[in-house]
């Protein structure tokens, strides 16, 4: 069965306070000419799914996100599906 690599990016929703992002922003205030702002800290999860095709993988990834990987009260997610060999 084909194996697919899944890469999920999980980020806090726009309206949710992200104290880690704020702390990073404050600590980088004295970075000379670099004007960096709006830091948000999320997480990245990689794993492999074995399934007959990409369409099935897609629905399985969404199922796993809703079941455990993402808390949609505070987080949003995006993902990409690659052939494992790439």
């Amino acid at each position: 069965m084909p194996r697919y690599k899944i890469i999920i990016d999980i980020m806090p929703l726009k309206n949710v306070l992200d104290p880690q992002g704020e702390a990073i922003e404050i600590s980088l205030k004295n970075s000379g000419n670099i004007k960096a702002s709006n830091f948000r800290v999320g997480k990245k999860i990689n794993f492999i799914i074995s399934a007959p095709n990409k369409k099935i993988v897609d629905s399985q990834v969404q199922e796993l996100c809703k079941k455990l990987l993402v808390n949609e009260v505070i987080e949003k997610y995006e993902y990409i599906i690659q052939d494992e060999k790439n």
Binding site: N15, V16, L17, P19, A23, L68, L69, N71, V73, I74
Partner: protein, 232 residues
């Protein structure tokens, strides 16, 4: 008064489970069992306690891995049948991940682990707080890094409308304001119950304030309330 059957659920990384057990069994003289997270819930149980701690090392999100354990669906069934469920600290986080309570607990606004006493204003219209006076202010310890209650505006509106906010961080005189908010929780929320009134989640630890040796017995009425409820 009949003896009430409590059970304290243990996950890898739970703590305070012995404190809960001790209060119920040794101080209040009621029945209490431990349940491992792979066990079933015996039919005799009246009240489940999900204790504090760091189940599964707080990996992914606090309480999230515990919400996938074997006992999870059994907790949901128990709650749906009207059984009393108490989630303290990490237990509160697990109950939100189980969707038995709305919202979630974010990292404290300060990003610090907070371990101190906090004043709490009580809404006594619940089976968990009936032994307190309405509006009474008590002091209980908190000990958490993720206790910053968050829910969307509609959920908060519903919590207020349905009287589901049971504990609010306050000043000693009961004033609820930003100064008395230790962790950034919306509306100073420290504890909520579900709409049906049989599931409560709270960040403060009543089981740590039940003996005079600690110079604080303000947590006792919490456990006495639920014992009273199951004796009606």
């Amino acid at each position: 008064m009949k003896k009430i059957n409590f059970a304290v659920i243990n996950f890898p990384g739970s703590n305070c489970e012995k404190d809960c057990f001790y209060v119920i069994k040794k101080i209040l003289k009621h029945n209490c069992d431990y349940l491992w997270h792979q066990e079933s819930i015996p039919n005799k149980i009246d009240c489940l306690i999900i204790p504090g701690g760091f189940s599964y090392g707080d990996y992914l999100r606090t309480g999230s891995i515990a919400s996938q354990s074997k006992i999870a669906n059994k907790i949901i069934d128990f709650a749906n049948k009207g059984g009393s469920v108490i989630g303290i600290c990490n237990g509160f986080q697990i109950l939100t991940e189980l969707k038995l309570l709305p919202g979630t607990l974010l990292k404290n606004k300060s990003l610090k682990f907070l371990c101190k006493d906090e004043y709490l204003k009580i809404n006594n219209k619940s089976r968990f707080t009936s032994k307190y006076k309405n509006g009474e202010v008590i002091k209980l310890p908190i000990a958490h890094a993720e206790g910053n209650y968050y829910a969307d505006k509609k959920t908060i509106k519903d919590l207020v409308k349905n009287n589901q906010i049971i504990f609010s961080y306050s000043r000693e005189d009961g004033k609820i304001d930003e100064i008395s908010n230790p962790n950034g929780s919306i509306m100073n929320i420290a504890g909520i119950m579900n709409k049906k009134g049989n599931v409560i989640g709270m960040m403060p630890h009543p089981e740590r304030a039940c003996e005079s040796i600690f110079n604080n017995t303000m947590g006792l009425n919490f456990f006495k309330s639920i014992i009273h409820f199951h004796n009606i």
